[in-house]
Symmetry: C2
Subunit: 332 residues, 2 copies
Amino acid sequence: MTAELISGTRTAQETLTWARELVEPGLRAAVAQLPPSMRPVAAHHFGWTDGGGSGKAMRPALVLLAAQAVGAPAERALPAAAAVELVHDFSLVHDDVMDGDATRRHRATVWKEFGTSTAILAGDALLALATRLLAERPDELRALLTAVLDLIEGQSADLAFERRETVGADECRAMAAGKTGALLGCACALGALAGGGSPAQVARLRAFGKEVGLAFQFADDLLGIWGEPAVTGKPVYSDLRNRKKSLPVVAALASDTGEGRELAALYRKPGTLSAPELARAAELVERAGGRAWSRAPADELLARARTQLRALEPKPRAELEALAQLITRRDH
Amino acid sequence: MTAELISGTRTAQETLTWARELVEPGLRAAVAQLPPSMRPVAAHHFGWTDGGGSGKAMRPALVLLAAQAVGAPAERALPAAAAVELVHDFSLVHDDVMDGDATRRHRATVWKEFGTSTAILAGDALLALATRLLAERPDELRALLTAVLDLIEGQSADLAFERRETVGADECRAMAAGKTGALLGCACALGALAGGGSPAQVARLRAFGKEVGLAFQFADDLLGIWGEPAVTGKPVYSDLRNRKKSLPVVAALASDTGEGRELAALYRKPGTLSAPELARAAELVERAGGRAWSRAPADELLARARTQLRALEPKPRAELEALAQLITRRDH
């Protein structure tokens, strides 16, 4: 913790637990409003049926801390916190259909458990629920819907990249900004809006969230290759299995090295990649410089996010900074 | 036209044209707010790229006429009219993915033209756009989102029926009420809300729309079997091809007749049904009484819808009634 920021009383892990406990009653009340056929589907996704892992509540925590950062009680931002989490869940449920991912949070994804059609409907229902939570708050609702459209554009670009032979590192970064930066920026902006923050405070917290979100995506893409299944809840080499053009992979493919070309050949190969091929692909990403290339911007983005926080008046408690550090520097 | 209703100046076809022309600028402006990758997808769906058929604007017409029915200018309900149309389009785009329908409005469906993932994203984007149009109108937004959740439950029941051997006529009717009645009821309620109608007027117009919606579904299910492709924009025997448990089919299957059992055997048969099998299936639905059974409730529902209109104070112009008649009694 740094001297410039007002000292917080919670570690980042404690902040996540606090946010999860604060937001969960609202999430459960919202899910209870779902049509009957969708309730068990949502309960499975949220991990309420098997005691398995639920989401980390990273986005609700950002919403609630941003409200506090503008001097409001966290409770005032609870509808926004639940709405952002529901939008995140909507996008996970639909993205898993599109990406064909079969495992998330240590259990079967919704489409794998209930079928593709039910997953499409469940995602739709979560999006409708999210917007209903903000029906009385037009500024927050508009900000949320703008982030939804950014998410959609990011996912669309991501899918387009998978069909293309070459993808530039810059466009890949722009895609990640849409896919992850937009919703984290929105989370912080919503907290500030709900807390009655000034336009300058809203803008600054949104910028902070965007930088953190992009840094998170770099970290997450490293986990998508080198993350421990026990930590990620996904199979080992998950992104390589799906031949995702994630940030480290794109950097490796664009490296103009022998390793990059060998990786490109593996990505082009028809059929499922074998375990040794997956291990080799990970090695090639690393040797072609993709791993190191992804670490550097994560650090730089986190530094820029910190700068945004320090420019805030009044100084927020240290918890936002601690949370940013936790979510952008995971076990990789 | 009946003496009890104040005489309108337009036929139902003219009303649809009027509504389409009024609502289209708002739809185009909304679609222009879509992320770039989704704009051509929406333009294809709306028929703006090939000069092909666009939607009939049945739902916007109901919204605008309901606003007039409570004494407001139609223009006041334009955001609601565009939002209801966008929700309808969102549900069409996603339902076509789930149902595997390849043709709509005389051209390829979105998933067929752009792939399943793009269709999921495009539907999501249309839903987000629809809700954004009503961000400043909380009552209308909540009513719209309730209808979205009803639509989802209706589609979920429809899909569940396809997997089941037997479906009761009552539950099939309840499903159709969710799938079609909810959005048409919502369209009328939104018009009344936007026009500043009293709660009694809103409730009455909603009830009118629900009856019309269910009557429309009976009529539409008849078209799904006996409709002319030139009129429906879908292949001949479309619903039988997809082995949909539509209202006439469910009635035939539940008829405890030899024809009903022969139809059940055809529905269970693996693989695609041949042209003679499809013609035979249509004949079996008719002989087992499914066609006649579907016509009677459509008439009864339309009569009930009229009763709702006549109880309205002040009496609306005759256009709502004429429109109800047009949309529930098509070419079958």
